[in-house]
C-alpha cells in the first residue's frame, strides 16, 4: 500500500514535470511567433554602410551591432588600407620649431602636454656641426623592434606600413618603450586627459581615443584621417611646409601646407634625403631632407612661434 502510494506520487511528479515543460515550450513558441508576426511588416529602412553607401534593408534583417562596434573597429584597424604604403618626408630646411604639428596632434589624440606622438627636437650632431630643428614622429619601421617584443600582439604592423597600438589589448609592460630606438612611444602613467569626456566614446584603434590609463600611446600616421582620404593632423597643421605625406606605391607625396603634390623619388633624390639610424636595421618609413639653405635662421626658441 505504502509502496503504491509512493509510486503514484512519483508518477504525479513526473506528470507535473511534463506538463510544466510542455506549457513552457508552448509559451515560448507562442511568444516567438508573436514577435515574428509583429516584425514581419515588410518595412524597409534606409541605412548608411561603413563605406558610405546608402542602402535599403528589410527591417527584419537588421541586427544590432552596437555591442560589436569595438571589435569591428579593432579588426578594421588591424588590416590597414588596401594597396597603400604610406611614407612621410620631413624637410628640415623649413622647420623653425613652430610646434603646430605637436599641438594639432595632441588635440586630436587627447594627449597631455608632455605626451608626444610627434616632438620637435633641437638637434646638433656634433659640437662642430650646425644645430637644427627636427620634427620626430614614429618612424613606422618596416622592421619594427617594438612589434617584435610585444608579448600580446597589442602593437602591430599593418599592410599599409603603419605601426599601431591597440590599447584595449595592451598590458602596459612597456617593453616596446625599451625597444624603440627613436623614443617614439609614450605611456599613460595616470588617468588620461579628459578621461570623463571620452567615457562613452567607442575606442577607435586608428585614432587611439579614448586614451586608457596604464597603456601605451604612439604616433598613428593619423590612420583615421587616411581612412577618410585626408592628410595627417600634423602634416596639415604645419605653417611652414615642412611635411610631405603620401603613398609610396603611387610615388607621390603631398605637401601639407602648399597642398602641392610631387614625385616622391625625385624629391628624395634631388634633396639628398636620409633616414634616422638605418644602421639599426629598422627600415624607417620617414625620410628627412637635410637642413641646408635654410629659410629661417636657427633660433633656440623652445616655446614655439606664432606664424
Amino acid at each position: 500500500m505504502d509502496k503504491n502510494k509512493e509510486k503514484s506520487r512519483r508518477e504525479f511528479l513526473v506528470d507535473l514535470g511534463i506538463l510544466g515543460l510542455g506549457s513552457f515550450a508552448f509559451g515560448t513558441a507562442l511568444f516567438s511567433g508573436y514577435k515574428f508576426e509583429k516584425s514581419k511588416s515588410g518595412q524597409t529602412v534606409k541605412l548608411l554602410t561603413i563605406d558610405g553607401k546608402v542602402v535599403e534593408v528589410d527591417s527584419l534583417l537588421i541586427r544590432e551591432v552596437n555591442r560589436d562596434m569595438l571589435t569591428e573597429l579593432q579588426e578594421r584597424g588591424r588590416k590597414g588600407i588596401p594597396n597603400k604604403s604610406w611614407v612621410m618626408v620631413i624637410d628640415l630646411s623649413k622647420c623653425r620649431n613652430a610646434r603646430k604639428c605637436i599641438s594639432a596632434c595632441q588635440n586630436a589624440h587627447h594627449l597631455k602636454p608632455e605626451q608626444y606622438h610627434i616632438n620637435t627636437l633641437q638637434m646638433q650632431d656634433t659640437e662642430r656641426t650646425a644645430p637644427y630643428h627636427m620634427p620626430k614622429p614614429c618612424q613606422h619601421c618596416d622592421n619594427p623592434p617594438c612589434v617584435a617584443v610585444c608579448p600580446v600582439d597589442a602593437t602591430f604592423k599593418r599592410s599599409d606600413g603603419i605601426v599601431l597600438i591597440d590599447n584595449e589589448r595592451c598590458i602596459g609592460c612597456r617593453f616596446c618603450i625599451a625597444a624603440c630606438p627613436y623614443s617614439a612611444r609614450s605611456f599613460n602613467w595616470f588617468d588620461p586627459k579628459d578621461a570623463e569626456l571620452a567615457e562613452n566614446t567607442t575606442y577607435d584603434v586608428e585614432l587611439n581615443v579614448p586614451q586608457k590609463k596604464g597603456t601605451i600611446t604612439k604616433c598613428l600616421f593619423s590612420a583615421d584621417k587616411l581612412r577618410k582620404g585626408e592628410l595627417p593632423y600634423c602634416v596639415s597643421a604645419c605653417p611652414n611646409g615642412v611635411f610631405y605625406f603620401g603613398d609610396e606605391n603611387e610615388d607621390a607625396v603631398t605637401n601639407g601646407t602648399t597642398k602641392e603634390t610631387v614625385r616622391l623619388s625625385k624629391l628624395l633624390a634631388d634633396n639628398g634625403a636620409f633616414q634616422l639610424m638605418v644602421e639599426l636595421g629598422t627600415k624607417p618609413r620617414v625620410f628627412y631632407l637635410p637642413p641646408k639653405n635654410r629659410i629661417f635662421p636657427y633660433t633656440e626658441n623652445q616655446e614655439g612661434i606664432d606664424s
Partner: protein, 442 residues
C-alpha cells in the same frame, strides 16, 4: 619502516635533534606578525598604484623600467642558487654540500615563486595578465621568460618535495609531540614511503633526473631574463655576453643569500653539527670561484666598449664611470664585488660571522648592480630628451615605489620562514644514509 639496524641507529642519533625545529615558537609568531604588518603597508602602497596608475612610481616615458624590473632580475638571479648547490655541486659528488641542499632549494622556490608577482607590479594593466596566455606572441622574450620561470619554479618545487619524501615518512617517529594534523600531513605527503631498496632506487633516479633537468632550465631563466635587455637596440644593453654575464652574477647573488641563511640557521637552529666550519669554508671558496667568473665578465662588459668609445656607448660609460651613477657604480663593483671576493681568500674570513657580513654586502651589491644595468641605459636614448618635465630626464624612485619593491622581498622571507618551520632544514634521511656510507667506506 623496513630499515636495517644501522640505518635506524643512524637516524635515531640525528632525527630527534633535526626535527626539533619543526615547531612554531613565540619567536616565530612575533617574526611572522612583524612581516605581516610590513607586508600590509607594502600592499597598501600597491593599492595606491592600482588606484592612481603606474605614475605613482618615479618611472616615466624615457626611464620606463625602474626598481620593479631591477628587482625582478634580482629575484630570478637569487633563485639560481638552488640549481647551483643541488645540481652543479651535488651532481659532482660533493658530500659536504648535503646540509645545504634543502636551504638552497627553499631559497630557490621562494624567489622563483615571487618573481612573477614582481613582474605584475610593473604592469600598467595587471587586470589583463590573462592576455599573456590568451594572445601570447612567441616572438616576445616575455613569453619565453614566463615559460621558463614557471618551469624552473615547478622543477625546484618538485626537487624540494621529492628529496623530502623519506624525511616526511620519519615524521610519525620524531614528531609525535606535535599536533596530529601535522603528522597526518606528513604521512599523506610521504606517499607511504618505507625505505625499501626498490623505493630508494626509484627515488634516486627521480632526483637525478630532476637535477639534470634543472641545469638547462636554470641557465635558461637567467639567460632569457638578460635577453629582455640584450634584444633591444640600445647602447649599454646591446651586448652579446649578457646571458653568461647575468648567469655568473646570479650565482653571486644566490650564494650571498645562502651565506645569510646559513648564519641564521646555524645560530637560531643550533646546527653546528651540520653547518660545520668545513661547510662554511667550502661554500666561501665556491663564492670566490663564481665571483671571479663574474668579475671576468664585468671586465669584458666594460673594458671592450670602453676601449672603442663609440658615440652612445661613451655617453653611457661616462655616466657610470664619472657621471650621475659613478658613486653607486664604484661602490657596487669594488665594495660589493671585488673587495668581498678578495677578503674571502683569507682563511680567517671564511667563518660564519664574517661571511654573514660579506653576504649582506654582496647581496646589496647584487641588487644595486641590477639597478645599474637597467636604469642608466634608458637615461640616454639615441635622440635627446627634450620638452618634458625635469623628472622625465633622470629617474628618482618614489617612496611608494620603494615600498612596492620591498613587498615581494617580505613575501620571500615569509615563504622561507614558513617552510623552514614545516620541514627539517637539514635532510635527515640523506644525512643518515651518507654517514653509514662513510662508515662502510663507500
Amino acid at each position: 619502516m623496513a630499515l636495517d639496524n644501522s640505518m635506524n641507529k643512524a637516524l635515531d642519533s640525528i632525527g630527534p635533534k633535526l626535527f626539533e625545529s619543526v615547531n612554531l615558537n613565540k619567536k616565530f609568531h612575533a617574526w611572522m606578525a612583524f612581516l605581516t604588518i610590513m607586508l600590509l603597508i607594502c600592499l597598501y602602497a600597491y593599492y595606491t598604484q592600482l588606484r592612481d596608475g603606474l605614475g605613482v612610481a618615479g618611472i616615466r616615458d624615457y626611464v620606463s623600467w625602474g626598481m620593479y624590473i631591477s628587482s625582478f632580475v634580482f629575484f630570478v638571479a637569487s633563485s639560481l642558487v638552488g640549481m647551483l648547490i643541488s645540481a652543479v655541486v651535488g651532481l659532482s659528488g660533493q658530500k659536504w654540500v648535503i646540509p645545504l641542499t634543502r636551504i638552497a632549494e627553499i631559497i630557490a622556490v621562494a624567489f622563483a615563486a615571487v618573481a612573477g608577482l614582481v613582474i605584475v607590479s610593473d604592469m600598467g594593466r595587471p587586470d589583463r595578465l590573462p592576455y599573456v596566455f590568451m594572445y601570447g606572441r612567441f616572438s616576445s622574450p616575455i613569453l619565453w621568460d614566463v615559460t621558463v620561470v614557471t618551469t624552473y619554479m615547478l622543477i625546484s618545487l618538485l626537487l624540494l618535495y621529492v628529496t623530502l619524501i623519506p624525511d616526511l615518512a620519519l615524521g610519525e617517529k620524531y614528531l609525535s609531540w606535535r599536533p596530529k594534523l601535522l603528522i597526518k600531513a606528513y604521512n599523506l605527503l610521504s606517499l607511504g614511503w618505507r625505505g625499501t631498496e626498490e623505493e630508494q632506487k626509484i627515488l634516486n633516479r627521480a632526483i637525478k633526473t630532476l637535477l639534470i633537468l634543472i641545469v638547462p632550465v636554470a641557465l635558461a631563466i637567467h639567460t632569457v631574463t638578460s635577453w629582455l635587455f640584450a634584444v633591444n637596440p640600445r647602447a649599454g644593453w646591446d651586448s652579446t655576453i649578457f646571458g653568461p654575464y647575468f648567469v655568473s652574477g646570479a650565482f653571486v647573488a644566490g650564494l650571498s643569500c645562502l651565506f645569510i641563511a646559513m648564519y641564521f640557521f646555524l645560530k637560531n637552529y643550533k646546527m653546528e653539527e651540520y653547518l660545520t666550519p668545513n661547510v662554511f669554508d667550502k661554500i666561501a671558496k665556491l663564492m670566490v670561484l663564481v665571483s671571479l667568473v663574474y668579475i671576468y665578465f664585468n671586465l669584458n662588459e666594460f673594458l671592450v666598449p670602453g676601449y672603442k668609445l663609440k658615440k652612445f656607448e661613451a655617453v653611457h660609460l661616462k655616466q657610470l664611470f664619472v657621471g650621475h651613477h659613478a658613486a653607486m657604480f664604484w661602490l657596487v663593483q669594488i665594495g660589493g664585488l671585488i673587495i668581498p671576493t678578495m677578503l674571502l681568500l683569507l682563511k680567517s674570513i671564511r667563518k660564519p660571522f664574517p661571511m654573514l657580513l660579506i653576504g649582506v654586502v654582496m647581496l646589496l651589491g647584487s641588487w644595486f648592480k641590477r639597478y645599474l644595468i637597467v636604469v642608466p641605459v634608458q637615461e640616454h636614448p639615441y635622440l635627446p630628451i627634450q620638452h618634458v618635465p625635469e623628472m622625465f630626464k633622470f629617474y628618482t624612485p618614489t617612496l611608494i615605489e620603494v615600498l612596492i619593491t620591498i613587498g615581494p622581498l617580505i613575501m620571500v622571507l615569509m615563504i622561507i620562514s614558513v617552510l623552514a618551520k614545516l620541514v627539517p632544514i637539514i635532510p635527515v634521511w640523506e644525512t643518515a644514509h651518507t654517514s653509514i656510507d662513510t662508515e662502510n667506506g663507500k
